[in-house]
Amino acid sequence: MLNLDTILAQAGSRWDEKTGAISMPVYHSSTFRHPGLGRSTGFDYSRTRNPTRAALEQTLAEAEGGDGTRAFAFASGLAALDAVLRLFHPGDRIVATEDLYGGTFRLFEKLLRPYGIDAVYVDTADLEQVRQALEPRTSAVFLEVPSNPLLNVADIRAIAALAKQHGALTIVDNTFLTFCRQRPLELGADVVVYSATKYLGGHDDVIAGVATTHRPELAAKIAFLQNAAGAILGPQDSWLLLRGLKTLPLRLARQERSALTLAEWLARHPRVARVFYPGLPTHPGHERLRQQASGFGAMVAFEVADPAQVPDILAGVSVFMFAESLGGVQSLITFPAVQTHADIAPDIRERLGINNRLLRLSVGIENVDDLRQDLERVLE
């Protein structure tokens, strides 16, 4: 078995036997010529299977878990999640992380609830709360690990074991750490979803989602849904994602190192009230993440002491860009209460700690001193 960085560096490089091209071709073909009646090349119609998307899905499957694991590429992270949630039925109940990505919360509340699938939200970093929320009709536990934006860390292994006892699936959104750092299937989860727009793509230039599973019966259902509902990833974006995957281990390593440096620096800054970064030993999820992951990621949240400073910080940064999204080579700063988590009711937001003092950094691959100086200037 090759190392993960070797698999990713050569993603799609050995596909084209005919020409030997070492970059996966972009197949903009909607349909495929049949060699004869009742015969197929393995490709019939691109919604069902497209060579470029297939090369991407094969790479992702190898990266996530190897033998028996399958991966599916979708038009966005939410499209991937939507396909996975269509596994459930009216009357089913899902226990979910309370400080979820706003778009996931919206999908649960505005799309699934009217359809009869109820979500209940608990602090999944607290195993006891998860245990109490499980009922006979609970069909899944949905975890974001770490959570967004406060980076709380759920114990994937313990929760997956608990869910299994209740006959419920465990679904993990692994967008923040990726399979380079955290491997939920190996910890007992059944399905992993990603917004591939973030670290997997990594260049802020593609919108894409991924679902992976090593359970053959779930894979068959997701494959059916991918084809039947058709929220597939197009060939050009599949190819860009393949291209992005090649540098994922390098990007993440640099981003993570810089994130730790910035988190440590912010923690000492007099105008910063609190820093949330699981790589800091003071973070409540530090020890757990150290055990279940091989790194702490590159997302850092912090609270400024004075909320009146927020608009000036957002307007004043010159290396950080004030924009939503995360995980790309360029560093971004966001204001979660207004941007990513606006769909969550204000009282819930406040209780969760997503308040008007909280800012979130996605640390890119720029030089860390330039990033620190940029923050230093706007905080003064």
């Binding site: 050569q10 990007r251 691959i365 030089n367």
Partner: protein, 382 residues
């Protein structure tokens, strides 16, 4: 932005966002022409051969990264080199490093020779040879360091000094190092060309060339050639090159680290007759190279005893792709005698150490442990 570190400027290279929407990825302007509001005064953009906003963002980026006044993007590295050569005239003479890329050698000894641009090839690592080749008609010195494929080192600052003492331009092909490791304009050079297909693009998925000039007047001449001959880089490839640039620093650091490890390892193997790598102890150009560049780069050449052994090695390796080109995320093993230097006569090749036993490894982003393991089994069977 110029005050920032190189790695930061790769992410924010002058024009780092779309002025209209704020998009953090520069849009691909797949357009040939631009509507003009005032027929008497054309706008900034009129026809995409002349100026395309996507290509322009790349040209601004490379100019800033190399430290020049103006950058140009071309359809290939050879289109960049040829377009720069087009600024010279019939009767002009060039002093050229003998170890330059085979494609450059070919165009100089065929097309440009027919047009009356004379060339004298010298071993540019020997500054006396460079000086001795200068004639009253000489207009420029053109070198490559490290050279390809034997990675010989030429002293950039010294060559620039010789050029300027004689009123000549100093030109170099910086493909092997890229501005992440070596910035010749800062050492006195006037023009840098690149095959951006290699480290700058870095993903073996495009063909592109770049040129950067220091002087604004020379920039106008190259611009005239670029527009008049039109060997421009298209918008999709310009955008992919911009995308590649963002990870240039992280890629090269990893590739260089692995290359240094592999060079040391090869040096200790009995099957290997000779290893060429600029920062390897014992490399004759090591001291000069480390003074002008920040590392040995990611290309290692090595010689086996015989041609059949080299050919056999190429057949036995499982991880490196076997082919032409270099600088990609995938390791690529090449055989200069029949690939990059096939255009050079055998006698010339032999004089440059490009023997039948020589192979060139461009080290990619794979795990160094996997690459060593693969080379180990391949060498044992070669």
């Amino acid at each position: 932005m110029s005050k920032h570190d190189f790695s930061t400027r790769l992410i924010h290279p002058g024009r780092d966002r779309d002025p209209y929407t704020g998009a953090s990825s520069i849009p691909i302007y797949q357009v040939s022409t631009f509507h003009q509001n005032d027929p008497e005064h054309l706008g900034r953009y009129d026809y995409a051969r002349s100026d395309n906003p996507t290509r322009e963002a790349l040209e601004i980026a490379i100019a800033g990264l190399e430290g020049g006044s103006r950058g140009f993007a071309f359809a290939s590295g050879m289109a960049a080199t040829a377009s720069v050569m087009m600024t010279f005239q019939t009767g002009d003479h060039l002093v050229v490093g003998e170890d330059i890329y085979g494609g450059t050698y070919r165009i100089l000894t065929t097309v440009f020779q027919r047009w009356g641009l004379a060339t004298t090839f010298v071993d540019s690592t020997d500054l006396d040879q460079v000086r001795a080749a200068i004639t009253p008609k000489t207009k420029a010195i053109f070198i490559e360091t490290p050279s390809n494929p034997t990675l010989k080192i030429t002293d950039l600052a010294a060559v620039a000094q010789i050029a300027h003492d004689h009123g000549l331009l100093a030109l170099t092909d910086n493909t092997f190092m890229s501005p992440a490791l070596q910035r010749p304009l800062e050492l006195g050079f006037d023009v840098v060309v690149h095959s951006a297909t290699k480290f700058i693009g870095g993903h073996s998925d495009l063909i592109a060339g770049l040129a950067v000039v220091k002087d604004a007047e020379l920039g106008r001449r190259v611009r005239h050639v670029q527009n008049a001959f039109g060997a421009i880089l298209g918008p999709q490839d310009s955008w992919l090159t911009l995308r590649g640039l963002k990870t240039l620093d992280v890629r090269l650091r990893r590739q260089q680290e692995s290359a240094a490890l592999i060079a040391d390892w090869l040096q200790a193997r009995k099957e290997v007759k000779k290893v060429y790598y600029p920062s390897l102890s014992g490399h004759p150009g090591r001291e000069v190279h480390l003074r002008q560049a920040s590392g040995g780069g990611a290309v290692v050449s090595f010689e086996l005893e015989t041609g059949p052994q080299a050919v056999n090695l190429m057949k036995q390796v499982k991880l490196p792709l076997v082919g032409v080109s270099l600088g990609g995320v995938e390791s690529i093993l090449s055989y200069p005698a029949t690939m990059s230097h096939a255009a050079m006569p055998e006698k010339e090749r032999a004089a440059r150490g490009i023997t039948a036993g020589l192979v060139r490894l461009s080290v990619g982003l794979e795990s160094a442990a996997d690459l060593l393991q693969d080379l180990d089994q391949a060498l044992a069977q070669a």
